[in-house]
Subunit: 132 residues, 4 copies
């Protein structure tokens, strides 16, 4: 299962090269990730209240083409493989003409409220397995 | 008492007008405010752990001249008046040639960990009174 | 005429107080302002290419209640009065339960590509007058 | 040659997990990269005016430990290898107790003002070779 989130590039996100600054993709990935979790039936805000935090262990991003002010971008996100002690989410960003302008990934662990690594909740693994 | 903090304008803080985006001044004010508190003997991180939070009630900013990438800015901050249920901090931003490019203020209340308004701690009022 | 833009509070926009950081409202105001201009028939990206820039002269924000992660906010924006050498836009932010959590304004001038103040374009004044 | 830049974690950079949000490291890497270029004798702002832009092709980040509000971080940056059509910069982030909390890299190309890839300026290659 993949989910596609939509982002309008904000003026504040541009830089003096007239590109969307490269740090914003990390924020957009996160936005797409949270929408993907919602699609799986998980409200990330509630997950945190329930004691399941998802810190980021790694990110990797390849910038293929720039994005510009006011572009309406589509961000595809999908879980790559079965979650174990950590899991990976992959992202592809497309512009309005359908070109892929960026792809990347993030790797996450589950952590409890006192910052200790914990196993992924069973219903999370189940939801991913059933909707791969 | 006033405190002067220094900020180097980051590339990520520029926008396609080639100006430092106007939202960053709010972040720089905060940075200068925390340095001002440190100057008064208050470590804001510790204050929060001790149950004194300082949410922002109001901000006002006048942008007089733009700031540019890599500019080294000086931000003067000072408490305006004696803290009561709320208190005001004033800021002036200067560029390297000494021009004032921005002035503004923020107004704050003291709040406890469950988001209730509380009186300012006595040693905070005392420190401000003694160093006005 | 007013326009209502919608914003989902991003995780990256939260701070350790668990509030949406107060600097983000400035970015959201800008987002709502650009959507308001679009509603008036003006594409701000195109305006800049045509040599009409809209730098910010002033902002003022009153924070009434906090916004939280994942909140879906509505931001009302409207031009206040007839644009002269400068003009003012007012904003009100509402949360999902309909409470107004923030109000504010920004003041803008028109500027050309070499950073000189210019008169507002006639069709802009006309559009505002006709849709007040 | 490596250069060490210093960063104080801003309140605005924290998130509700009470960590410095992971997107900020990308901004800090950029800050350290610009200081590294300065160390090599290159003022990045001037380079852009001279028609040499350095867009980011790739970034990769491993988050080893969180950073917290007000932490004073050291960011080591160094060019990895001899610049060819693209070049790589590596970063290591240390906290105040000397622990490495993050490492990562960015890959860059040289681009002219009309967004075409160009060769690195000869004096840049020379400076890197002489100071490896």
């Amino acid at each position: 299962m993949k989910h596609t989130a939509q982002i309008r590039v904000r003026y504040a996100e541009t830089d003096q090269m007239k590109f969307a600054h490269h740090s914003n993709y990390i924020v957009w990935f996160e936005y797409a990730r949270i929408e993907l979790l919602r699609r799986y039936g998980f409200d990330y805000g509630q997950m945190e209240k329930d004691g399941f935090l998802l810190p980021v262990l790694e990110v990797g991003v390849s910038y293929l083409k720039p994005a510009f002010f006011d572009d309406l971008l589509r961000i595809e996100a999908r879980v790559a493989g079965i979650p174990r002690s950590s899991f990976k989410i992959e992202y592809k960003v497309f512009n309005e003409t359908g070109e892929m302008i960026c792809d990347g990934y993030s790797r996450h662990a589950f952590m409890n409220k006192v910052n200790k690594a914990i196993k992924p909740p069973k219903n999370f693994i189940k939801a991913v397995k059933e909707n791969i």
